[in-house]
């Protein structure tokens, strides 16, 4: 930090915002100095995204003031915010999936030549921004053809392309693995050097430690306190967020694996039709799966779940061969999948919490296979809401209006309610706060104890190391290695994840 007293760039005073049944923000204050990285933390539903959306002009505040360079400003819309130099990377992906990567990066700010879009410039400049975030795709690729992780990188590239003074990143790394995240950190540090201020939201507390000059915490829509650089550590952050200590994060007891619950032999997925995948999963075992973005983990799970075709190879569940052509068949065989893309695949956004929670188990709970058992649905929902501490006014709230992390909890709850034999989890803790993460780990633990075989894909190395009995690592469509618990280390995983098999 420079020696002369830092000048406040952006300030927020007494912001309040209500939604039907929810007081999302209440008298929140925040300030941001030029060239500062501020980590904004808080539990799911604490109001972080809401506050950022207000700054970005997506939603108006009910009360309070926003000051830029000491002057009160009115942010009436997204364009206003952009004009003030405030850019936001949204927590949820928001891309025009029909357009190219380049078109998305420059959407709303297309360079023109003689009144027409200057495609050459877009192409050239996009390449630069994509390189910065470490994404190696052609700018002419249609965004809809990219995986979630890559789309998130495009979002970041897009935000970088705005010549912003304040760059807000709402959980930018939730679908990124360590390697991509590190590239992003380099970018952020570089921005800081150039005097750009960054508000960084994440539930990966380690990232805050690495990046932040200061931490500010929200709890239940109110300021819970700040931590200067020197005081940033895991326990203090957690304490501010949840108001109590959380110790014993990964409460793992090592299981004795039971019978083989899932066996996969020579499976080939459409994304990597030439690579054959084989592995086994035992009852009561928790297996982590690590890899970089695009390693083919999601594809593997999708193929096991019958979403994408199995191009060859065999799958057995508890010794019985299955060939699932659809999720329905997979579910009937006892497989459940918590998908990576909650908005597209996990949730019916316009349905209520209860309806979402019950959707997958409707048939199971139905007394005769036809009529719904609404009492049971309500019961399960109540249980899950309590167990996972879902923050919602009631179980009839339309799920669109829940915060991202609380939505994710519902997606997980929906599948836990199913009591599967094999549970596949694709980035299950994406966007989930520390407290709830612990709940989910606890649930995984319980399920494993009851004999469920769990395969979970995660890009958060800490979590993989903390939770798995055994870890599989993928690289470009291949399983490059398997690490038992006692051989787990960050280096070992990264070596395998980058395709370096000898080192392991």
């Amino acid at each position: 930090m420079s020696s002369d007293s830092p000048k406040t760039l952006l300030e927020v005073r007494g912001i309040g915002k209500s939604f039907p049944g929810v007081r999302a923000l209440n008298g929140v204050n925040l300030h941001l100095v030029g060239g500062e990285v501020l980590a904004l933390l808080g539990e799911n539903g604490a109001g972080k995204s809401t506050l950022m959306k207000i700054l970005a002009g997506v939603q108006p505040a009910d009360e309070g003031q926003i000051l830029m360079d000491g002057e009160v400003i009115e942010i009436g819309g997204v364009q206003d915010a952009l004009d003030y130099g405030i850019a936001l990377i949204h927590q949820e992906l928001n891309m025009a999936t029909n357009l190219s990567v380049g078109a998305n990066i420059f959407l709303g700010r297309e360079p023109t030549k003689r009144g027409l879009i200057d495609e050459a410039t877009i192409y050239k400049n996009s390449k630069g921004f994509l390189k910065m975030v470490g994404l190696n795709v052609d700018p002419n690729t249609i965004v809809g053809d990219l995986t979630i992780g890559r789309q998130q990188l495009v979002e970041i590239a897009k935000a970088l392309s705005v010549d912003a003074r304040v760059l807000i990143m709402d959980e930018p790394t939730s679908s990124l693995s360590q390697k991509e995240a590190e590239t992003l950190f380099t970018v952020i540090k570089d921005l800081r050097k150039r005097g750009v201020s960054v508000i960084y939201i994440s539930h990966r507390l380690g990232e805050a430690k690495e990046l932040a000059d200061r931490v500010s915490v929200l709890r239940d829509g109110e300021n819970a306190g700040d931590l200067p650089r020197a005081d940033i550590n895991h326990d203090k952050m957690v304490k501010l967020m949840v108001g109590r200590d959380i110790s014993q994060f990964y409460a793992r007891t090592i299981h004795k694996p039971g019978e083989v619950a899932l066996e996969v032999k020579n499976l080939r997925t459409p994304a990597h039709p030439t690579h054959e995948l084989s592995f086994k999963l035992h009852a009561g075992e928790i297996v982590g799966m690590a890899g970089l973005v695009g390693a083919g983990r999601t594809e593997l799970l999708a193929t096991l779940f019958g979403v994408t075709p199995n191009l060859g190879g065999k799958v057995w569940i508890a010794g019985t061969s299955i060939d699932a052509q659809s999720p329905q068949e997979a579910i009937n065989a006892g497989i459940a999948l918590v998908p990576e893309d909650r908005k597209q695949q996990g949730l019916i956004l316009d349905m209520t919490v209860r309806e979402n929670m019950g959707l997958a188990s409707l048939k199971r709970e139905s007394p005769n296979g036809i009529f719904m058992n609404e009492a049971r649905e309500a019961e399960i929902t109540a249980l899950m809401i309590k167990q996972m501490r879902v923050k919602t006014p009631n179980d009839r709230q339309v799920i669109r209006y829940l915060s991202g992390g609380n939505q994710q909890k519902v997606v997980i709850g929906k599948w836990l309610a199913m009591e599967p034999k094999v549970l596949l989890l694709d980035e299950p803790t994406r966007g989930i706060d520390v407290g709830a993460k612990q709940e989910i780990y606890g649930l995984m633990e319980d399920l494993a104890k009851r004999g469920v075989a769990i395969l979970f894909v995660s890009s958060e190395l800490e979590e993989v190391m903390g939770m798995s009995d055994r870890t599989l690592v993928m690289h470009e469509g291949r399983i490059t290695g398997e690490l038992p618990r006692d051989q787990l280390s960050e280096e070992a995983i990264m070596q395998l994840a980058t395709g370096n098999t000898e080192a392991a």
């Binding site: 209500s18 009910d62 779940f305 979403v307 659809s326 999720p327 329905q328 997979a330 579910i331 009937n332 999948l337 998908p339 597209q344 695949q345 996990g346 949730l347 019916i348 956004l349 316009d350 349905m351 209520t352 309806e355 959707l359 997958a360 409707l362 048939k363 139905s366 296979g369 036809i370 009529f371 719904m372 009839r396 929906k414």
Partner: protein, 340 residues
Amino acid sequence: MKQFISKFIGSQSEGAKRILGIFVLLMVVYIVTAIINPNFVGAYNQENLIRRTSLFGILGIGVALVIITGGIDLSLGSVVCLVGVGVPWLITDQGWAPWIVLIMAIVLPMLIGLSHGLLITKLRLQPFIVTLCGLLIYRGVTRGFTGDQTAGFGNELKGLRWIATGEIPLFPGFGIPFPAIILIVIAVAVGIFLNRTIYGRYLLALGNNEEAAKFSGINTDRMITLAYVICSGLAGLAGLLFVLDLNLAQPVDFGNFYELYAIAAAVLGGCSLRGGSGTILGVIIGTALLRVLRNMMNMAFLGFQRAEFAVIGAVILGGVIVDELAKRAVAKKRAAQKQK
């Protein structure tokens, strides 16, 4: 009871709110017409209105299910034509046994719906294109096989025709037209299906987000196909009732535009063309509104025959605008109260 109704019209409280506006509009039109011409509320006219609403309501309920899946069915009117013309033509002109023809009248439309559903789910063709081709094909075929001749039952089959023309006497001078009974049975059945069975829930879910529904283990293809089968099946039934009521059907224009009336009724009744929402009660109210408006023109504004369409359009548009503005005002008032 209140709970039962809410169950029947849809679990989403949204549904009830949407219906309210259109229901108020229906009441306003009703009362205004009654004031201008008291004969409007006479038993005879009410019976007529109920019968018409019932016939068109059956179409509306069918297409509502398709709209809930996020699809559309433009072929309704032509299915009405196919059945409405085909049944009297086969029975009267070709001398087929009525029972065979009636079975065909039920089965054939369902097969048509099945083919729509399969083309849409298995070949992933756009519903608009598939059912537009259906619109063209079924009418063309009907015109072809009948040689464009008007078909009717003449003085035959009065017993069968009672299904459409008969009524259940309630008190002297007024009875419930039999088609109303059919509509109620269908509406209750479909309402229960939609709101109380797991399949109805599946339909609503996939209409909102087909991919997420698939990921939840729902056989979305089968559910979508089912919606088209029911829709075409009900269109066939309506076609049958129409011709039993009218006793004549001309291939070239029988059922023309009925798909539009049906879709309009469904949309007025709260179905969103983006899929995922809709209530059966709303569809019936929407249908009733359209029928009452047409009746109003004859009963109260005979001199404005020509502007009939304009009046109907203006009433509907005015109604939805006022409805929207009212909702906003209410929301604003609530927000203001809350702040205090």
